[in-house]
Amino acid sequence: MTYWTTMIVGRLAQTAMVAWTIVTMCFVFVHVLPGDTALRIAEARGGAEFLNVGRAEEIASEEGLNRPILLQYGEWIRRLATGDLGVSLVSGQSVTSELWYRGQNTLVLGIVGWLASHLVALPIGICAALRPRGWVDKLSSFYCVTMASLPSFLMGIGLISIFALSLRWLPPAGFRSPEHLILPAATLALGLSAFSIRLIRDTVREVNGAFFITFARTKGLTASMALWQNGWRNAAIPIVAFAALQFAAVVDGFIMIETLFNFPGLGDLLVSSMLARDVPMVMGAGLVAAVGYGLVNLAADLTSLALDPRISQRDQRRATFR
């Protein structure tokens, strides 16, 4: 079991380091230009026409932006430790409740998009692997190369243009009904599948060509039985690891897709509060993204560990079996 604990502690420590880096980075960078921050908040709250230096200074003292940096930093860390993420500099609302609301939306979008991508990718990837140079293989590799060069927001623009504007089947933006989920989730799924199809195809092909499959066949198994009995676990190890990793890597997708579809999730929140220099909100959203990423990575490691006996039983000495 030592291997499990080492791995879990290692991942958690790493995530904590990232979280700390984000917290610190936010402070260091925002205090390079403190006056600018106050001006921007004033602009965000009252609009550009009411902007003046007096208002900015008012805000600066209200929000405590004039206090020494270390004091503000220390206070933020102290509050963080008690689980208080503070209030938004722009709206004055609690960061935690905003994150909670946005986080749920993002999670729904992520799970739907990720599941959809694998529902598509698994059958296509396996088909392509079992019939190399067949039409599924050729078509899917063309699809992969094309999709991999297509950033998610371009794909989203294409989908909006076709399904929302020309065909008028689906709403283009916002999140008021489950229908609003379809286009962003599809955008996410298409982008993800480009990578997972390729990996699934390569993995299944490699396992199918492995000599232990041939050797299993010389034991009297049919080709499909050998592939099923000796193949699935060997192929599942990298595929599952990659799938979990992909779920973590959708952060890019969230940021772009949510901004494009005006979807009230964490990514959209991160960008809009970054533009408004709303430090507590940026930090909160960044922290949730980083911690979520760390946890999903941990889950990916644990899954590989459960599937692959070579990792978990590495500690067992060879001498046991004589």
Partner: protein, 473 residues
């Protein structure tokens, strides 16, 4: 020929371009338990013969001929019919156990995959091969190479096959484990299974004492019972092949050497890695100029490490290494570095594959100076009988024998006093192996170079060394 006999007639194997690369080869087994052995160098086509019987030739290769087994006559072109014989009449013992076993499945389940297996047969097969029942619970990565090899034999034993094809059953195994493989093969024969063994291990062929076929460049140059073939080979190539076997080397006349200066010395040297106990303790011996000291012992006992300690590549845990009478400290090692050299186990590995051989030799100008370099290079190249064309190639385009000579030549450029030769024979074909030893022999006689020979093969050692250091646990 009785109905129990097996007959194999291979007319030819054609490659993708329709060129004949192997054939004709004919083999027969009169009674159950007979063995046929194919011997020959790498690239002689012996593995392709085995693949043609099993219907496992690479795609687009084609074999003509037939196999008659258990009263059935199957054309070698009919891959489907050949594959239908798998496990029922034919079984394969492949050469690389860790590539052949499913890494994520326990051994017992893999044995259960054999057609017609049950727990009783599996237990019987495991115990027949000296494997404990707990091996069934292990994953392949938990087994040693020798044990994994034996589980492959168990697979064949569990099956009902009357013909078992074993591909290089001793490859990469040391003497003890090779002996275990031989035992396993003999048990299969005692069970009434006929064997086809593909090997470059002449010892194994001699001890199996079956019908032996010598292959060269795709053709069977000579065939006959092992005891006849090994004592009086008729074909020139078979004779050369058999003479290269260390067992047939004539023992050199005992040499009387005048006492000469000591090149290196170990005084009470011990070494152990941080994890685990000491590999060897309180070792003391001297090496004189022109002397051959052999270091022997099982694999994993620390022979290579001892060589590295002697060469100043590793610091001993205790004791002293002396070079020319002074302790091999950092400064001494730096000063005498090029005089103490190593002939690596895999000769090709000392040349980086992204550079040509010539570039490697040209690099030596850093150390030897530019003027003397080219002259010396020419002299040595001629002495080693190596063509100048080799200099333009990378190591991937060079044969094993040439690589061995080039590696030796590279060391000789540095004009060494001591060469540690690490298993100089393990990765090359017998004929090349013989060649290396003749070169080393000439070296010690003509240039008074001291040689430390690391080998697990006691036979080679006994015919060659002046002094033997045996490591044991």
């Amino acid at each position: 020929m009785t109905d129990q006999g097996i007959e194999f007639q291979l007319d030819q194997i054609l490659d993708t371009e329709g060129i004949r690369i192997v054939g004709p080869v004919s083999l027969y087994w009169d009674t159950p338990g007979d063995a046929c052995v194919l011997i020959g160098e790498t690239g002689s086509g012996k593995s392709l013969v085995a693949q043609s019987i099993l219907g496992l030739l690479p795609p687009d290769f084609h074999a003509d001929g037939f196999l008659r087994i258990e009263g059935k006559r199957i054309a070698l072109g009919d891959v489907t019919a050949l594959r239908a014989q798998w496990s029922t009449t034919m079984a394969l013992v492949p050469q690389e156990p860790f590539r052949s076993l499913d890494p994520t499945m326990r051994i017992r389940r893999q044995l259960r995959q054999v057609k017609g297996s049950d727990d009783r047969r599996i237990d019987a097969a495991l115990s027949e091969l000296d494997l404990s029942a707990s091996v069934g619970k292990a994953y392949p990565f938990q087994l040693s190479g020798g044990m994994a090899q034996r589980t492959l034999f168990a697979t064949a034993l569990v099956s009902g096959a009357s013909l078992i094809i074993a591909d290089e059953p001793t490859k990469g195994l040391d003497e003890d484990r090779a002996a275990q493989s031989l035992t396993a093969l003999n048990r299969l024969r005692a069970e009434g299974r006929s064997l086809l063994v593909i090997t470059h291990d002449l010892d194994l062929a001699r001890q199996l004492d079956g019908r032996t076929v010598v292959m060269k460049a795709g053709e069977a140059v000579e065939a006959g019972p092992a005891h006849e073939l090994f004592t009086s080979p008729r074909n020139d190539y078979s004779r050369a092949l058999l003479q290269s076997d260390p067992a047939n080397w004539s023992a050199p006349a005992p040499r009387i050497r005048p006492p000469s200066r000591t090149v290196a010395e170990l005084r009470d040297v011990s070494f152990g890695y941080r994890a685990g106990g000491p590999l060897f303790e309180n070792l003391s011996f001297t090496i004189d100029a022109g002397e051959v000291v052999a270091v022997t012992g099982q694999s994993g006992i620390g022979k290579t490490t001892l060589g590295d300690v002697l060469l100043g590549l590793r610091r001993p845990t205790s004791g002293t290494v002396l070079w020319e009478g002074t302790a091999a400290t950092k400064a001494t090692v730096h000063r005498l570095r090029r005089k103490y050299q190593k002939l690596h186990q895999d000769p090709g590995a000392v040349f980086a594959r992204h550079r040509t051989i010539g570039q490697h030799f040209a690099d030596l100008a850093d150390i030897l100076g530019g003027e003397s370099l080219s002259l010396r290079l020419e002299q040595l190249r001629e002495r080693m009988k190596l063509s100048a064309r080799l200099m333009e190639r990378s190591i991937d385009e060079i044969s094993g024998g040439e690589a061995q000579r080039l590696a030796l030549m590279r060391i000789l450029m540095l004009d060494p006093m001591l060469i540690v030769a690490d298993e100089p024979s393990s990765r090359v074909d017998p004929i090349v192996q013989r060649d290396v030893f003749e070169l080393l022999d000439a070296l010690r006689d003509q240039q008074e170079v001291a040689i430390v020979l690391i080998s697990h093969r006691t036979k080679i050692v006994s015919s060659f060394a002046d002094k033997v250091v045996r490591l044991s646990s």
